[in-house]
């Protein structure tokens, strides 16, 4: 359980700092620190177990059928990373409190930082490939947000996008690689994968798997040629750089190499790919770092170079090299984080990061200078500092390699050369910044020491560099042993952490690197000139953006090709696709069209009804341009549909269809008032023929489907509903009981949809201005006599009667045809009749009701009825009913379902009235605006 809390605390705790910011910036920082500390506390118990020698596992079932469970595991390697992530995270939180300016939103910063921390812990502790990938992507996303933290700056936005594009693409490759790996092993658990190393290496899919996984690791760890996003990510605030781009996120790539080392290493492709890329990155970045003028740029390239070194160590593929790799992960994290923090302090106090301006800071900030110089010496590999130890192990390993045969001297030579450059750029960091004359035109002058607490994290890290460098056996040895054991998945070879091994070849290489580096730096002016002349700036960023632009252009071209803005074309393509999808299997599959069920004989009346319906539908099409007539034809279809419901035992449907028909036709007529009443003849005969063909195809398909259905045997689950309607729902009208009881939740959803549609329509009608025609299509002016007297008088008498009918339909709905939907429609029809016969003004003077509250009340009553069953410890929407006896009235039944039905009733009335009354009001508003003109 503790393992889960270690991850969940920062992930969920990410919400707190943005909330705590209202109590001040320190409160926000303290919240973040407290959450990190709590995670560290939860990690303590697992850590002690791991240090005692047993890896800790935890498992929660999620989708065991799909092999998707939550698996966490802490072994030595995971323990190392948990310590790095939480320890350095804590220091970064303290540092950032003083680094961020007053105007920077600190709550957001700490929230994102915690989110990232949780994701990173997830990577370290996952024991499932896909789960690891989820956290992997989460680190990409949160780092995107952190890099673009100053989102008002375009370089931050671009740098963030570039980082996301590169690491995100790598993440996709990694997903594919993980899927292949899981396929090979038959399990996605990492422990299983580690045990299956021989199986994986012998598998024909080994090479693609390796390539894809390496693509993921290399993009994340900024290996050549994917390195260029890291320098541009330096647009992030320096605490982010110190945390993500030195200690943690970029280490995720090498973590993956270490994690899967037992499963993937030990082959030629591994040696050449990992070793080769590592070596290229090491050399290229070490060289480039020297020529950066930006303080953080230098550190960024040096980070890339050191990551290359670690990659190369894993690529060398000997147990000792792997130990050295793990060791260098630890050392690099400590000295590089402190260097970034020192660079941030310098930036903070001088206002610039340009090393051509920053000179001679020793005089102004000796304390910071001392710390930075120690850390930079560790980066250079100066004895008595931690960087020296791992670098010497690295040199020693390059010497033992014989895989390259006669060319074996290349690797030690290249390593020494990289060492020379590392010393040179470290020397530049020290000399250029702290000595080398006086500062030039600093934006902030004179610089001075930063706040006390800003230096504490640097001091702690530098002390660690020293302690590990001088007393390795008493400090880092147990952790290194444990982590290396986990990486090797077996016994750790004997190695010595001593500072002095005698005058050996690796020591000689260190000496060459030190002297050579200082010599190189002393010649820097000539070197810079040479560099500028020989290597004109290749701007990887420009190339990247050109590539991105190409992709965007291609995407736009594709969109343009598919979307020409013609809705007719979309509809036709969609229908054609549907037709093809249904027709192809029917044509090819040999499915018999008809079934064994014989057809029933037809009576004359039914045949007549069918003929009328077909004729009316065809006339709707024929008269479609004479729109008023087309509406009349359409209403005939609707009427015959309701007759069909009567014919085949569906009285509820017939009532519903009939009343909906009335409101639909009223709606269409109202709309027609604002639309041209004659449609233009614009489709060519060819187009009409094509459309007709398509329509006939779709229609014929539906007809055949219906025929196929009719002639096949009929099976239903309806008996359950019919049998339990009375006993379970307390009603005899099964349709209504299904609506308000068995499937009440569906109905609740449906009336909610209706309510939303009505609100949407209300919004669409808001501020709508439409031309009102003065005459009808035939040029005759509309009658000024708006409201015919006879109709007005008759409807006034009819209103109470109609309302009474709707009450009757409502009350009996549970046991006989009727119910909330039908009663609501009947009420709406009765009210609309008043609007139509007597006008909006007249009606509204007498009927001062807003329809929004009615809709709201309806949905709320229905929902509250459902929620009411919770009071009785029953599931949502459980209905209850009972029979009561009233004197005079006699026996009657009350059911909670009736209350639910009341909600339905109110919603339907409100929706229909809201739509039609507001559409009707449009005539008034437009008349008013016309007169105002």
């Amino acid at each position: 359980m503790n393992l889960l809390f270690v991850i969940l605390l920062p992930l969920l705790g990410a919400l707190l700092p943005p909330l705590a910011i209202r109590f001040g910036r320190s409160a926000s920082a303290w919240t973040a620190a407290a959450i990190t500390l709590a995670a560290l506390l939860f990690a303590l118990e697992p850590l002690t177990t791991v240090f005692a020698g047993t890896p800790l596992e935890a498992h929660w079932a999620w989708l065991p059928q799909a092999g998707l469970d939550i698996h966490l595991r802490m072994d030595g390697l995971a323990a190392l990373f948990v310590l790095l992530i939480l320890g350095i995270g804590l220091l970064v939180i303290l540092y950032a409190r003083y680094y961020l300016a007053e105007r920077d939103p600190m709550g957001r910063f700490y929230g994102l930082l915690l989110l990232f921390m949780g994701a990173m812990l997830g990577i370290a502790l996952s024991d499932h490939l896909l789960q690891l990938l989820v956290f992997w992507e989460l680190t990409s996303l949160s780092s995107f947000l952190l890099i673009s933290y100053w989102h008002h700056r375009s370089d931050a936005r671009r740098g963030a996008r570039m980082a996301l594009a590169i690491t995100g693409a790598g993440g996709l490759a990694l997903l594919a690689g993980f899927l292949l790996l899981g396929h090979i092993v038959g399990s996605y658990r990492i422990v299983d994968v580690l045990d299956a190393g021989d199986l994986i290496r012998a598998h024909p899919l080994y090479l693609p798997t390796l390539l894809l996984i390496l693509l993921g690791a290399f993009t994340k760890s900024a290996q050549f040629p994917f390195h260029f996003w890291l320098p541009h990510a330096m647009a992030a605030p320096t605490p982010v750089s110190a945390y993500l781009h030195s200690a943690t996120m970029v280490k995720a790539g090498v973590f993956l190499l270490a994690r899967l080392y037992p499963a993937l290493s030990g082959t030629d492709p591994w040696f050449f790919l990992v070793g080769g890329i590592g070596l290229a990155t090491l050399l290229f970045a070490a060289y480039t770092a020297l020529f950066q003028h930006d303080l953080k740029g230098l550190l960024a390239y040096s980070t890339i170079s050191h990551l290359g070194l670690i990659t190369l160590l894993f690529g060398i593929d000997t147990p000792l090299a792997a130990v050295a790799g793990v060791f260098h992960i630890i050392n690099h994290a400590t000295f590089k984080a402190s260097l970034f923090m020192a660079a941030g302090i310098i930036d903070h106090e001088t206002g610039t990061r340009d090393m051509r301006l920053i000179n001679g800071l020793w005089k102004y900030m000796p304390h910071t200078a001392t710390l930075a110089m120690v850390a930079a010496s560790a980066m250079a590999g100066v004895p008595l500092l931690n960087g020296f130890l791992s670098k010497e192990m690295f040199f020693a390993e390059t010497l033992h390699l014989s895989a390259l045969g006669a060319l074996s001297w290349i690797l030690p030579a290249a390593a020494t050369l990289a060492g020379v450059f590392a010393v040179a750029y470290s020397a530049r960091f020290i000399h250029d910044v702290f000595f080398n004359g006086e500062p030039i035109d600093l934006p902030k002058y004179p610089p001075h020491e930063p706040p006390r607490y800003m230096k504490i994290p640097v001091e702690i890290l530098v002390t660690l560099c020293l302690l590990v460098g001088i007393l390795p056996a008493f400090t880092v040895a147990p952790l290194l042993d444990l982590a290396a054991g986990a990486v090797l998945h077996g016994p750790v070879p004997a190695y010595s952490l001593a500072i002095w091994h005698g005058f050996t070849l690796p020591f000689a290489m260190s000496l060459v690197a030190l002297t050579g580096g200082i010599a190189l730096y002393s010649q820097r002016h000539r070197l810079f000139a040479l560099h500028d002349r020989v290597f004109p700036e290749v701007d990887a960023r420009a190339l990247f953006w050109i590539a991105i632009e190409r992709v965007m252009d291609a995407a736009h071209a594709m969109t343009r090709a598919l979307e020409n803005g013609s809705q007719q074309r979309y509809a036709a393509l969609l229908l054609l696709a549907a037709l093809a999808a249904i027709a192809l299997p029917l044509l090819g599959g040999g499915v018999p069209l008809g079934g064994p069920v014989p057809a029933a004989p037809i009576d004359a009346l039914t045949l007549l009804g069918a003929l009328v319906m077909m004729a009316a539908a065809i006339l709707t099409v024929v008269w479609q341009r004479r729109r008023l007539v087309a509406v009349v034809a359409l209403s005939v279809v609707g009427l015959v549909v309701s007759l069909a419901f009567v014919r085949w035992s569906a009285p509820d449907l017939a009532l519903t269809q009939l009343s909906v028909e009335v409101v639909t036709i009223v709606l269409l007529l109202l709309a027609l008032y604002f639309l041209p009443q004659q449609g233009p003849a614009e489709s060519s005969p060819l187009r009409r023929g094509r459309d007709l063909l398509l329509a006939a195809g779709v229609g014929g398909g539906v007809g055949l489907l219906a025929w196929g259905m009719f002639t096949r045997p009929y099976a239903t689950i309806a008996n359950y509903y019919v049998e339990n309607s009375l006993s379970g729902g307390g009603g005899a009208n099964v349709v209504n009981v299904i609506l308000v009881d068995f499937r009440g939740f569906d109905t609740l959803g449906e009336i909610t949809v209706l309510a939303i549609a009505a609100i949407g329509i209300y919004a669409l009608l808001n501020n709508l201005r439409l031309d009102m025609p003065a005459t009808d299509a035939g040029g005759r002016p509309w009658s000024g006599e708006r409201y015919p007297l006879v109709l007005a008088q008759l409807t006034r008498f009819l209103l109470p009667l109609a309302l009474l009918v709707s009450v009757y339909l409502f009350l009996r709905g549970h046991n006989a045809p009727g119910g909330g939907f039908i009663a609501g429609l009947v009420t709406a029809v009765a009210l609309i009749l008043q609007y139509m016969a007597s006008g909006i003004d007249w009606t509204q003077q007498r009927w001062r009701l807003q329809y929004h509250p009615i809709i709201a009340a309806g949905v709320l009553i229905a929902a509250a009825t459902g929620a009411g069953s919770w009071l009785f410890d029953r599931p949502f929407l459980t209905s209850a009913f009972g029979h009561f006896h009233l004197p005079l009235a006699g026996e009657f039944e009350l059911a909670t379902a009736m209350l639910f039905d009341l909600g339905v009733y109110l919603t339907v009335v409100g929706v229909v009235m809201l739509i039609l009354a507001n559409l009707g009001k449009l005539t008034q508003r437009c008349a008013a605006c016309k007169e105002g003109e």
């Binding site: 013609s566 007719q568 029933a600 004989p601 037809i602 045949l607 069918a610 319906m613 077909m614 539908a617 065809i618 709707t620 479609q624 341009r625 729109r627 087309a630 509406v631 359409l634 279809v637 549909v641 035992s649 569906a650 449907l653 269809q657 709606l667 269409l668 709309a671 041209p676 449609g679 007709l692 329509a695 006939a696 229609g699 007809g703 055949l704 219906a706 025929w707 259905m709 239903t716 689950i717 309806a718 019919v722 049998e723 009208n733 099964v734 349709v735 299904i738 609506l739 949809v753 209706l754 549609a757 669409l764 009608l765 709508l768 439409l770 046991n815 045809p817 939907f821 929706v911 559409l919």
Partner: protein, 110 residues
Amino acid sequence: MMEAVAALTLAVLVTCGVYLVLRARTFPVVLGLSLLSYAVNLFLFFTGRLVTGAPPLAGGSAPVADPIPQALVLTAIVIGFGMTAFVVILALRARGELGSDHVDGREEER
């Protein structure tokens, strides 16, 4: 025979509906959608088969028509009205904003 006629009616309704949906002006499209929703409702209703004179009322001993498609179609009819209303108002709004009742909001270039 009855079933064949019912299937044929559906075919004609769908054909007319689809043809109208493919027109270039909003109003015929609305008419077409209405025809299509009639057809769809009928089709769903027909999945309970053509049962005569036996409305789904519980309590009797005789078999009754299938209530499930009926319950489904009942709400479908009401929702269908909501959808038609929405499309109609959308068409009005489009005409108000764009000054045309063409489905693409602009007259076709010729």
